[in-house]
Each structure stands twice: as structure tokens, then as C-alpha cells.
Amino acid sequence: MKKSNLGNRLKRADKLDLVVNILVFLMAVVNLFPFYYLLTNSVKNSAAIFKMPPDWWPKTFQYKNYVDLFKGQPAFRWALNSFVVALITTLLVVLCASLAAYGCSKLHFTGRGVVYAIFIGALMIPKEIFIVPLFRIITKFNLVDTYAGMILPNVASTFGVFLLKGFFDTVPDSIRESGKLDGAGEFTVFRKLVMPIVKPGIGALFILNFVNIWNDYLWQMLVARSKNMMTLMVGTASIMQEISPNYGYKMAGAAVASVPMLIIFICFQRYFTSGITMGAVKE
């Protein structure tokens, strides 16, 4: 489109496109508002929070809410719990899923098709609907209120197998065969030759899974019984449900719970986009 007669060329369809884009842009900006509201209210005092209409920019900055949060609640412990649970779950998922995906992609064994079909079939079944039997298992193994209780059921997720199989499928068989000719066993071939090639897939799975577990709520809430075993999400939600009008304090909790993921998102944005779209659809 030449600039000289831009005005004439703006057909009705293009005008529609422009109007829609202005709306989309406005919505995009409005999306940021809850975070702005959260952060500004977390530094207001109670009087300022209850003020209507509100001060759009806080008149007084006070960090008391954050100090109260970390003094009154084991918030550091919650953050540590979240980190430990998310990290160990993710490491186990990456380990089991990469082995299984390699098996389903490269190895020939009886029942391979059936095993993979079952893994795929379970992808769409949410584990939440089985919280009753899952909780009974955890109780039987004495894992209530432990990290293991929070971690183990989530390793059963087969999303990683599905995601990584796509990556292993693209690795040519000649690489495996060359390793075999050098006398390497299957596991060595997997670890030394094939894994380095599928690193982008591992990275995407790692980040997606870490964030999912970090943000998981229902299962962690059921397993955590004592205040010290709560994860950040469970702890924050418990503050929220306290009957207390101390909103600034609650907002500080929500802010602390959201900041780590904001940082991860900003640093690893590319992996998110690739990971989410990867598993799903091929044209």
C-alpha cells in the first residue's frame, strides 16, 4: 500500500481492522490494570484502601504490609516449599517423560503402540476428578503433609511424553545406529547422543511444568495440613480467606505469590510460546 493515497485506500474492511485493533489494544492495556491495582494497594494503608473513589496513585508508600506478611506468616517457608515441590516434580517429570518418550519413539518392543495410546488417552483426563482415591493412596502411604505427597501424583502426568516424543521423532535413526556401531548401549546412546539434540524440548517441558506445579492449588491444599507445609499459593489463599479487613496485607501476599512467575515469564517468554504450541497442533 502506497502512502500517498493511503486515505483513499482505507476500504471499509481496513477501517474495521483499525477499529478492532484499537479495541484490542485497549483491552491489552486493561489487562495490566489488575496487576497495577494489586501492587499499588499492597503499599497503601488501610484508610487509603477503603477510600472511594480511590487514589489512582498511592499518596503514601508504606512497606508495612510486606513486613507484616513476612513476620506474621511463614511466607519464606511457603516460597521455599513451592520451589522445592515445583523443582523436584519437574525433574522427575523430565526424567520419566524423556525416557518414556524415547522408548515410544525409537525402540521397538511389543505393546509399544498400546502403551503410547494409553498415555495419550490419559492426557485429557484431569487428575482433579480423582482427588478422593488419590488422597486415600497418599493417606495409606503416610504421605499427608509431606513433599512426597504433593510431588508423586503429579509425576504421573503424561503430557511430557507426548511433547517430547515429537522431538525424538525428528532425530534421524542414523545417529542411533552410529552410536550402536561404536559399541554404545541404548542408555548411553540416549544420554550422550540423542538428549543433547532434543534440548529445546526439554527446556520447554521444564518451564511449562515448573510453572504449572508452582501455580497448582487444589492438590497442594489437600496435602498440606500444617502451616509450615503450605506452598505459596495455598498460603496466600489461606490469608485471603481469613476474616479480616486488612486488605493491604492480603494484597501484599498476592503480590509476593505472583512476582516469581512474572520474572520467569519475562526471562523465558520464548520457551512458553514454543512449549504451549508444540505439543498441541501440527498443520
Binding site: 474492511a13 481496513d14 481492522d17 478492532v20 485493533n21 484490542v24 491489552a28 492495556v29 489487562n31 495490566l32 489488575p34 496487576f35 491495582y37 484502601i49 472511594m52 526424567l95 517423560a97 525416557l99 518414556a100 522408548g103 525402540l107 518392543f109 509399544r112 502403551v115 498415555f119 495419550i120 488417552g121 485429557m124 483426563i125 484431569p126 487428575k127 476428578i129 480423582f130 482427588i131 478422593v132 488419590l134 493412596i137 501424583p153 503424561t158 516424543k165 541404548e186 508452582w214 501455580n215 492449588y217 487444589l218 499459593m233 485471603m240 501476599g253 498476592a254 505469590a257 505472583s258 512467575m261 512474572l262 515469564f265 512458553f272 510460546t273 504451549i276 504450541t277 497442533v281 498443520e283
Partner: protein, 292 residues
């Protein structure tokens, strides 16, 4: 012949060694719970009794008006949120896909932000915004209408609010998926259509929308499943109320299991939801199997 058999055995052993760990976790925490859930749903177990009652738990379930309400509410949320997510996601993606990368990335990120910071935080912020005492939304709505407004406390509006908050907290995924899918369409085809003088509207409706159908299918299935298990937003925003107006199947399951201590009722609900999830997932399962 025996050598062949031996090789075959070795191959099988290696194969199962690789899939073994995943299979073990899967068997204990996915397969076993299905059968255990089914078994529990056929018994009536309380502190004093544990008797086989066959289908009685299911019959009671479908005679409980609260459960019927929960099913209808779930259906309502499925329809509204799925339509909202897909239409809004597609519309936004179509609007921005041919613009400058910086703009695309800005829009995509701001919509994805609520997805990434967890529904717990999103639910908390919205709970504050909708608070009848000092929430912004109710304050300005109240000013505009001259009445006191409490959207979460009103049985007629609470489900709409939950649908709205859920869409805001999840439409980012649809946008990422649609943009990726549109970027996968050959640029030559889109260029050729432009040279032929086709307007953007025509390009969108005649070329892009039909070509992104696999994405639409995938998103429909994943959105519906995610609404089936919707929990945080219900618990933190409305707690199923007022008066069961926002009770869903998942929340009914949770309440029975961990509040009323009726594990057998919860197990029956779980099996009903399992059946629903299987039916919903079948089209997606078929298309995934075709690919890989």
C-alpha cells in the same frame, strides 16, 4: 530362530526399561485411582458401615437437586467460557497477526500475563475488585445505577462473573495457539489472496478460519476439560454460593469429599465427570493418534 527370539526379548526388555518408570507412576496415580474411584462409588462407607449398594449412590446423585443444579451450572460455564475463549481468542489473533512483531508480542504478553501469575492471584484481585464494601467494580456500578450492587452475592449474576474472570484468566492461551497456527499458514497463499484484491475480512473468513480448524478443535477440548475441573475461582470468589447458585460438579465433589465426609458421593461424581471427560476428549484423541 532362537537367536531371533533372544533379540526380540532383549528389545522388549530395553523398551520396557525405558517406559517403565513413567508406566509405574502412571499405573499407581492414574490407572489405579480410576478403578478405586469406581469401587468406592459402589459402596456406602461411613464410620459405622461399609456396604455394597450397587448403583444406589448414582441414583441418589441424580435425585439431588443440588447436583442437578451443579450440572446445569457447569454446562452454562462450559458454553459461555468456551465460546468466549474461542471467539475472543480468534478475533484478537486475526486482528493482530499481520501487524508489527512488537505490537503482536505486546498484546500476546498482556493477555498471557493472567495465565502465568496463577488463578489464585487472579481470583484474589477480582475478589477485591468485586468486594461489595470497597470494590471498584461495585462502587462504580453502584454509582452508575444508583443502587447497591453486589455481583458475587447475586444469584443471577454470580455465574456470569465467574465466566468473565475465567475468560480473562485463560484467553491468553487461545491467542498464543491461534497466532502460532496462523503463522504456520504459507505466506504465499495469503500474499496471493491480497494481490487478487481480497480484503482482510475475506482472507480471514475464507482462508484463515478454515485452516486453523485443528487449533479450534484442540482449544475447544482443552477449554471444556479445564472448566470441568475449575476450582480455585469458584472457591475464592463465591464458595459455590449464594445458595448453590455457583455450585459446579467439581466443587460439589470437593465439598462432599472434604467437608461432608461423603467420599462415596464424591467418588460417584468423579466417575460421572470421568465419563464426560472421556466423551469430550475422543475427537482430540483421534486427531492426535493420526498425527503421531
Amino acid at each position: 530362530m532362537t537367536q531371533h527370539k533372544q533379540r526380540r526379548l532383549r528389545q522388549n526388555l530395553t523398551g520396557y526399561a525405558f517406559v517403565g518408570p513413567q508406566l509405574l507412576f502412571f499405573a499407581v496415580f492414574t490407572i489405579y485411582p480410576i478403578f478405586e474411584g469406581l469401587r468406592l462409588s459402589l459402596y456406602k462407607s461411613t464410620a459405622v458401615e461399609n456396604t455394597f449398594v450397587g448403583m444406589q449412590n448414582y441414583i441418589n446423585l441424580f435425585q439431588d437437586p443440588v447436583f442437578i443444579r451443579a450440572m446445569l451450572n457447569t454446562l452454562f460455564l462450559v458454553v459461555v467460557i468456551t465460546l468466549g475463549n474461542l471467539l475472543l481468542g480468534l478475533l484478537i489473533s486475526l486482528a493482530i497477526f499481520d501487524k508489527k512483531p512488537g505490537y503482536v508480542s505486546f498484546v500476546r504478553s498482556t493477555f498471557y500475563l493472567p495465565v502465568i501469575v496463577s488463578t489464585v492471584v487472579m481470583a484474589m484481585v477480582w475478589k477485591f475488585l468485586l468486594n461489595p464494601a470497597n470494590g471498584l467494580v461495585n462502587y462504580y456500578l453502584g454509582k452508575a445505577t444508583g443502587k447497591t450492587v453486589n455481583l458475587l452475592g447475586n444469584a443471577n449474576t454470580v455465574l456470569w462473573v465467574i465466566a468473565f474472570v475465567t475468560i480473562v484468566a485463560s484467553v491468553g492461551t487461545s491467542i498464543i495457539m491461534y497466532i502460532a497456527s496462523i503463522n504456520g499458514i504459507s505466506t504465499e497463499m495469503l500474499e496471493a489472496a491480497k494481490v487478487d484484491g481480497a480484503s482482510k475480512l475475506r482472507v480471514c473468513t475464507k482462508i484463515i478460519i478454515p485452516l486453523v480448524r485443528p487449533t479450534t478443535l484442540y482449544l475447544s477440548v482443552t477449554t471444556i476439560i479445564s472448566i470441568l475441573k475449575l476450582f480455585v475461582i469458584i472457591q475464592l470468589l463465591s464458595d459455590g454460593g449464594p445458595n448453590n447458585a455457583s455450585m459446579t460438579m467439581m466443587y460439589y465433589l470437593y465439598r462432599n469429599a472434604f467437608f461432608y465426609n461423603k467420599m462415596y458421593v464424591a467418588s460417584a461424581v468423579g466417575m460421572v465427570m470421568f465419563a464426560l471427560a472421556v466423551i469430550i476428549a475422543i475427537p482430540q484423541f483421534i486427531s492426535m493418534r493420526k498425527e503421531g
